[in-house]
């Protein structure tokens, strides 16, 4: 089977053609760097993505803090992680890269904050 992938590692978006059978890769063409090769290998055997979303914050100057997974996770878990993030609440203040949830789905994947949130003393939050 042959398939063309658009690599997402960097903005170049190289088009990489792969010949494969099942998870057995026969030929790769069009990659311009080793990351691209790794990317398509993964796409065929175990596609990974970084999940980005947001979780609720209590007592912060924003009601949401944007988060991302510490490492790319299997693509098939994206929606599930999306659901889980909605349940998570974290207290302000929050620093960038702070872990707001760990060991998601039993894997060694953390959810890290990607925004700085200040604490505010407000009765209305």
């Amino acid at each position: 089977m042959e398939r063309e992938f658009i690599c997402i590692i960097c903005p170049n978006g190289c088009r990489i053609k792969v010949e494969y059978e099942g998870t057995n890769i026969k030929n790769i063409q069009g990659d311009e760097c080793p990351k691209g090769k790794d990317y398509v290998k993964n796409e065929i055997t175990n596609p990974l993505r970084v999940f980005t979303g947001s979780v609720l914050v209590e007592n912060g100057d924003f009601s949401l803090v944007s988060v991302k997974t510490s490492v790319p996770i299997p693509k098939k878990y994206l929606k599930k992680i999306g659901e889980i993030t909605r349940w998570i609440k974290v207290d302000a203040p929050v620093e960038i890269s702070q872990v707001v949830a760990s060991n998601l789905l039993g894997e060694k994947v953390d959810l890290m904050a990607t925004r700085k949130i200040k604490k505010i003393n407000s009765l209305l939050s």
Binding site: K79, G82, E83, R86, W87
Partner: protein, 493 residues
């Protein structure tokens, strides 16, 4: 919901320009009045969807109510707007002839105008047209200095607020379901929000006046919807014309043709079209008409291109005959022959805006003939609108911010509307709470980004002011919810 029994001397069905004008006129007297309006706010029928022109009266057939009330209304309009703090600009109007054959129609229009008592009409030649309007193509024109423009929705809101202030009750989101006459003395009006009884019913339900008339068992009127679509142009091209520019139409025609009108806010409007449609609710804009409007406008103003359109909208006229029949139909403003004290207003199309106050006075006359109305000594004709920060001089702006820092927060970037104005609009005396109600009262969301920057801010201010949950916010009342849907977690729960 408990049924509430409310009795009023007069119930006005329909909170459009005419209904609110009648409410205000009646509030000059000691008589209890209620206005029942089915939408979330006043003016949302045809009243907010027209060109906003205060006509001089040369388009109307002599001897008709339309002619009489238009000329009367035009002459007292400046004062009305002054009392109600509503914008008004007497910029005059040109009816432009592009072909030689049209010049005799110009003369006929002038004669008609003279017969109706319109002042100062003149036929002007090419060089004068060019002097007044350098960008317009035309060989001659009828110049009507008495024509003016106003804001039709601000005027309706102002009439309503002044009426409210003078004792009239307004019931929004209130749709009439049945009307019965009790013992030949009272009317019982059942609505979706309770019952009312009244001695008089004034049917100013616009497009649905025929339905209301039938509900009560009065004469069988039939109204046919005729839609007019408009384009609003970016303010960057506003300098292209200085006053309304109309094409030549025959003096007997009730459609005034596709025209170019500056709005009181400084945009140019192109329109309206004239299309009989099936449904009275169909306010859509259609691509074929949009193309036609651009083409027609381009004939007068070659510098216009479709790229300048920031928005399109439409309004529906209440025509008294179908398109196949046509013919001329004057305003119907009369007490029903079949049911006492039931006053019908049928077919109030152009010049309905200009004629609103005289029409209202005619309704008062009808009631006055039946029973002596006593003056209300507390009546106050004056009403103050929302102060527009952007229109003030610099010293005033500085003073305003000092007095209230909410004047210093600009929420609508395109139209420079401040938080203070938004708050005043949100806290309007009529209690209208949708995004569109705020838009009409402040101009926010009417600029070139159409709410891209301010919409979310206005939603927050609305939420804060009334402690509303996000799912309660609406665009225009009823079920026009802004934020629906649920997040995955909410489903799982």
């Amino acid at each position: 919901m408990k049924a509430t029994k409310n009795h009023y001397d007069a119930v006005i069905i329909g909170g459009g320009m005419v209904g609110c004008a009648i409410a205000r006129e009646l509030s000059r007297y000691k008589i209890s009045v209620a206005v029942l309006e089915k939408e979330d706010d006043v003016s949302w029928g045809t009243s907010c969807r027209n060109s906003g022109v205060v006509h001089a009266g040369f388009n109307n057939r002599p001897g008709t109510l339309m002619a009489k009330f238009c000329v009367e209304g035009n002459k007292s309009f400046a004062e009305l707007c002054l009392q109600l703090d509503v914008p008004y600009k007497k910029m005059g109007k040109l009816v432009v002839a592009k072909k030689k054959e049209e010049i005799k129609d110009l003369q006929k229009l002038k004669q008609q105008g003279d017969a109706n008592g319109v002042d100062n009409l003149q036929i002007i030649d090419y060089s004068e047209v060019k002097r007044l309007e350098p960008n317009i193509e035309g060989i001659a024109a009828l110049y009507s200095p008495e024509t003016a423009i106003t804001s039709p929705y601000l005027l309706t809101i102002a009439l309503a607020e002044n009426a409210l202030n003078n004792g009239v009750s307004f019931f929004l989101n209130t749709r009439v379901e049945s009307i019965t006459r009790l013992n030949n003395s009272h009317f019982k009006i059942i609505t979706n929000r309770g019952e009312f009884t009244s001695s008089y019913v004034i049917n100013s339900a616009g497009l649905y006046a025929d339905k209301i008339a039938r509900m009560a068992g009065t004469e069988k009127y039939h109204l046919y919807p005729c839609r007019g679509e408009y384009h609003i142009l970016d303010k960057n091209v506003s300098r292209l014309i200085s006053r309304p520019i109309y094409p030549v139409t025959s003096p007997s025609s009730q459609w005034l043709g596709v025209h170019l009108t500056p709005t009181i806010d400084g945009n140019i409007l192109i329109g309206p079209s004239n299309e009989y449609i099936k449904s009275k609710d169909n306010l859509s804009v259609t691509s074929s008409v949009m193309k036609m409007l651009s083409a027609e406008a381009g004939e007068f103003l070659p510098l216009i291109s479709p790229g300048y359109t920031i928005r399109s909208y439409s309004g529906i006229r209440a025509k008294q005959s179908p398109s196949s029949e046509g013919g001329f139909w004057d305003f119907v403003i009369e007490e029903s022959d079949m049911i006492d004290n039931f006053i019908n207003l049928i077919g109030i199309e152009s010049p309905g805006l200009t004629a609103a106050q005289p029409i209202a006075k005619r309704v008062v006359e009808i009631i006055n003939k039946k029973e002596r109305l006593n003056s209300n000594p507390q009546f106050n004709p004056f009403r103050k609108g929302i102060l527009r920060f952007d229109e003030q001089g610099e010293e005033t702006k500085i003073a305003l911010i000092r007095q209230d820092p909410n004047y210093g927060e600009i929420v609508c970037r395109c139209e420079k509307v401040t938080k203070k104005e938004i708050l005043e609009a949100i806290n309007n005396p009529l209690g209208a709470r949708s995004l569109i109600s705020i838009k009409y009262r402040t101009r926010a969301m009417m600029g070139r980004c159409q709410g891209g920057y301010c919409q979310t801010r206005i939603m927050e201010i609305l939420r804060e002011s009334f402690k509303l949950g996000p799912k309660e916010l609406t665009l225009k009342g009823n079920d026009s919810y802004l934020l629906t849907g649920y997040r995955s977690s909410e489903v799982s729960k």
